[in-house]
Symmetry: C2
Subunit: 635 residues, 2 copies
């Protein structure tokens, strides 16, 4: 083996790591200030308090359209005994015009009558009526904004009216970001075998922006001790903080921790957090330097926990609290003795409760973060949570968005993406989210009240009918089937069909590495049915136990030579440029409790199924027909 | 008079105006798209759905550090019967390394032992163990983001790993902003009598930014019909929307509505909303053109109600919901038959309830917007709300910030600004807000449970003692006095004291225009006491009934020749460069119910009073002494 492995001695809990590091950091960082144009100051944080230079109004000003008068000239005027003010006794003023001695009152335009000799008034004016005194709004010398205040649009308006053109604000922390690794390539490079597209640093750049700093992303550094050392050492002199990505796990190429030990002090190496464990928290010449793991989810969670709070503190921004809600978790989550876990979840409002369904837990599953509506935390060494138990969810999306989302759980088909795309464009603020757990999985979720509807394609072997009998059997409440599409199932094989597969029997007879769908998937049910029909024992299918969760995953496995064949739909085969041996058409519909049919976003969903746009998108995909799409059948 | 006045025939309710205008706008606006670099796409809105170009991982990849093997080579390995794999049977791999045939499984580094002949394993590996299959995270062709989605940092990471370098996003609406008015000056110009510093357009620019558009602010246009017509006409061709500020009231100089009638169609002129009534909603050659009133608060509320929703709609951004809370209103608010009113409020959490205190209601009171924590809406022709009643507040600040704020209501002194400035700098996320209603007003608010403490300076004529007797008399619960400062009261007169005022008696004997403080203000109590002491009848004080709410407002009135004299504190006189005839020192303290003393933000407040920084800031202000500041006296 010969490679050096750098094992952490032990990891420490998240809170302890944070506390330990922040205690060091707080002693180091000093806020820095800069003076900028007030007009460019939106969302910046004030340094010291800001005091008005001018008053507003700048002078005693008329608060009305009318005439300025000397109040004493109007004494005793009444309907019975009107007074005529000659031209030297008044001045026509508009709202905002200045009022000077001897005038000390304004009479509204509505209350005067113009006559030949002058203006007739029928009521006396009391001193200072309808006059906005100088400084009524702002008095010169008055504090307009305190220090540490986030400047808003209205503040900019008021600062300018008070004569403030420039203001001192907290400097944005400048953060250097270094991707490392010999195998990583830039997104514009053509990927080769083993290459990993470097994208974390771009995510970090934008997370720095969101935290109120400025990210400076450098080109990837190869795995070379001196190279890393020199770059980090230079950056520490120029920037307020340095992030090093990857090379922080206990893998062979991680020089980061050794470099940081040589250059400065490593305060924490390894935190009991999942994903995100191999975090390095260090200080080099008075600057925070943080090493983050390479797996995207670990990188994200490490950043959120350890980098974001420091940038906010440097920039004197308040910690941003994420919206939270209480939701029922859809399956049991066990706690670990070794770490606190961040579980990404999809959240939906079904009936009157919020339901959270855990997503893929792997550190590499970046899409799980994109798909997630939020996360819940399973504390280290806790009792875990049972299915149905209430948990606190920290949201990535707004609660109102979640309330306007159709939650679809069940079998996967590309038409779900199509509907999810059409929905918010055609129906303002309405959304669809789908989770792919197969047909039976979807019906189970529906029964647990976690979804509005379940897309299913389940063949009843006895009747040859699709879907209806399964739904009837599993539910005690009035249900409906929303008709979806007919689609073609078949065997996907590599382009050119090198093994010459022509039917199901070939999968057992030829040396074929098959890749299957998970138990409960409609495609699995169909495959089992076809095997039985052909009298084939599953033991003769190599790879029968290798399960994948979607058509596309099966197609990808075949395309990449991870397998030779797998069953799936034509559109998936087309998407991955595979050959396709047709097995037959099937019905892909949506099972739904009748009580959900009247929800506005469910109605929108049904309308889309029946729309011309949906039909034309299906034609592009190919392999579908949809004569009855959008029809609702009560069962 | 001779000027033409442009009276609205009638105004229409806000909702009706919005509906009417939006119906027209929705028929006109088409979203426009542009293609940008994914790395720059933070917070932009996707156009169409985005599908993955590459899978991730790009290949079957090791999920562990260890060795890649062919699973069939490991069959039947056990502790009792280990298998030795020679060099041709395995490959050392790190996490993320590609796995190719014939290898189809990974054994973890921890589970192997290196020996001279090869690697010893003691358990069989099953096919595909510890391998992340190609596309496990993202499958090429899969939808990554739907249309109409706001791109986050994590999305950028995933798009890049899926090979997406550019993306189509909704174009930001381009909004032209025209200030109009002959009397307005730029903030950098020196103000002259009657000039108004133009700041609304800068506020609008930043409100456009906040709504997701790009503001283009033009130099002010003078009040000239053709000038306005030409500029607006040009702008309509180049921009997506045009805002014209001021000139939209029924004052003499408003050409806007006439211009818009000539150029296009005025859909609404005048809305029953206060502040904000003189709004003009028009369409010119298929573009929305909106005229907004000149008063800052009207301008702001008009913008929020009519401009922000259109920019959001053009940019396909969801309406941003502001945080709301339920609070007890501190005084009765009557409803108007004529309009819906937006009342700005300060909100505090005192005890276990939120309390909202209405701020100045004038349309010119821009500082009331800066000071406001939120607003409540009093519906047109409703029953209004009674003091103590619960109202819904839409918040400008976050609820958590409000919860960490010391609410101070009572007499005004500049030291409150000093404390408000020190607080968030020294105590993370803690704030002070103060409302100035005079000493007695503060005690009343305290009794109603609207404040944590009340700054007071009330002389007990009988005992000559300050504050204690008033507090004892008014409260039935255990109270405390937090000692504040000694400060000097006196008569403020213009620089050089042109009327030669030397004492209180001169105010009655000489031709002095006095300006008083409001009933219940400590300064008013002191003035009345001094008058009585000198045997002077208040009827002999010209301007005794003219009331101002703060020392600074009185000082400003004198400085601007709106009055000749007024009573106030030395620091106010100094701030406005006035002469000062000393009347005597007084005690300015804080009354507080004892139960509030243990609140963390109140403790911070007390610590600041006793701090060196506070003392040195007082020395800068002058006129104070503070030997006992921060001392807590239970009474």
């Amino acid at each position: 083996m010969g490679k050096k492995r750098n094992l952490y001695l032990k990891t420490i809990p998240v809170e302890e790591a944070k506390e330990k590091y922040m205690a060091v950091i707080e002693g180091i960082i000093e806020p820095e200030y800069e003076t900028i144009d007030v007009r460019e100051a939106l969302d910046r944080i004030t340094g010291q308090a800001i005091f008005a230079r001018y008053s507003s109004p700048l002078f005693n000003a008329s608060a009305m359209d009318g005439i300025a008068v000397k109040a004493s000239d109007t004494d005793h005027a009444s309907e019975a005994a009107p007074i005529i003010l000659t031209e030297d006794k008044y001045l026509v003023v508009d709202t905002g015009d200045p009022i000077h001695p001897p005038f000390d009152a304004v009479i509204m335009a509505e209350d005067i009558v113009e006559e030949d000799e002058g203006i007739r008034i029928t009521a006396s004016a009391h001193p200072w009526q309808h006059i906005r005194p100088i400084g009524e709004d702002i008095v010169a010398g008055e504090m307009i904004l305190p220090g540490n205040h986030k400047i808003r649009a209205i503040d900019i308006g008021v600062l300018l009216s008070a004569g403030i053109l420039e203001t001192e604000v907290v400097k944005k922390p400048q953060v250097a970001i270094f991707p490392t690794g010999t195998e990583i390539i830039e997104p514009e490079d053509k990927p080769e075998d083993g290459s990993i597209i470097e994208s974390n640093s771009r995510m970090f750049e934008n997370m720095v922006t969101a935290a109120g700093g400025v990210g400076h992303r450098f080109p990837p550094i190869i795995d070379d001790y001196d190279e890393i050392k020199n770059k980090v050492s230079e950056a520490v002199d120029k920037y307020d903080m340095v992030i090093i990505n990857a090379g922080s796990s206990a893998g062979t190429e991680d020089y980061t921790v050794h470099v940081l030990r040589e250059l400065g002090e490593v305060i924490v190496h390894g935190v009991s957090i999942k994903p995100g464990k191999p975090v390095i928290l260090a200080v080099v010449r008075g600057k925070p330097v943080i090493g983050l793991p390479g797996y995207p989810v670990s990188a994200y969670i490490g950043f959120e926990n350890f980098v974001t709070p420091i940038i906010q503190q440097m920039g004197r921004r308040p910690e941003q609290l994420t919206e939270t809600l209480e939701a029922h978790i859809s399956k049991r989550l066990v706690s670990s003795l070794k770490h606190k876990e961040y579980v990404r979840v999809k959240v939906g409002k079904v009936g009157d409760k919020f339901v959270a369904a855990p997503l893929a837990r792997g550190a590499g599953a970046a899409m799980s973060l994109v798909r997630a509506d939020g996360f819940c935390v399973i504390e280290q060494s806790s009792e875990g949570v049972d299915a149905g138990e209430k948990v606190k969810i920290e949201l990535y999306r707004s609660k109102s968005e979640i309330e306007n989302t159709v939650v679809v759980i069940g079998s996967h088909d590309l038409i779900l993406d199509v509907i999810a795309d059409i929905m918010p464009n055609e129906y303002k603020d309405m959304h669809v989210t789908s989770t792919h757990v197969g047909s039976m999985g979807g019906l189970m979720a529906l029964r647990r009240g976690e979804a509005h509807m379940a897309p299913v394609h389940l063949l009843d072997e006895a009747s040859g009918e699709y879907n209806v009998s399964y739904v009837k059997k599993m539910f005690n409440e009035p249900m409906a089937i929303i008709k979806g599409v007919h689609r073609i199932q078949g065997i996907m094989v590599k382009k050119g069909n090198p093994l010459g597969i022509t039917n199901i029997a070939d999968l057992a007879e030829k040396p074929v590495r098959y890749v299957n769908r998970q138990r409960g998937a409609g495609t699995r049910v169909l495959f089992d049915y076809k095997l039985k029909e052909a009298g084939i024992d599953t033991a003769n299918i190599e790879g029968y136990d290798r399960e994948m969760a979607t058509h596309m995953a099966v197609a990808a496995a075949v395309a990449s030579d991870g397998a030779d064949a797998g069953m799936g739909i034509l559109s998936a085969a087309k998407a991955m440029e595979l050959d396709f041996i047709e097995v037959g058409p099937e019905e892909y519909d949506f099972a739904i409790p009748a009580r959900h049919l009247e929800l506005p976003h469910v109605k929108a969903f049904i309308e889309i199924l029946g729309s011309d746009e949906f039909r034309s998108r299906l034609e592009e995909l190919g392999g579908y027909s949809c004569d009855r799409a959008g029809e609702v059948v009560l069962i």
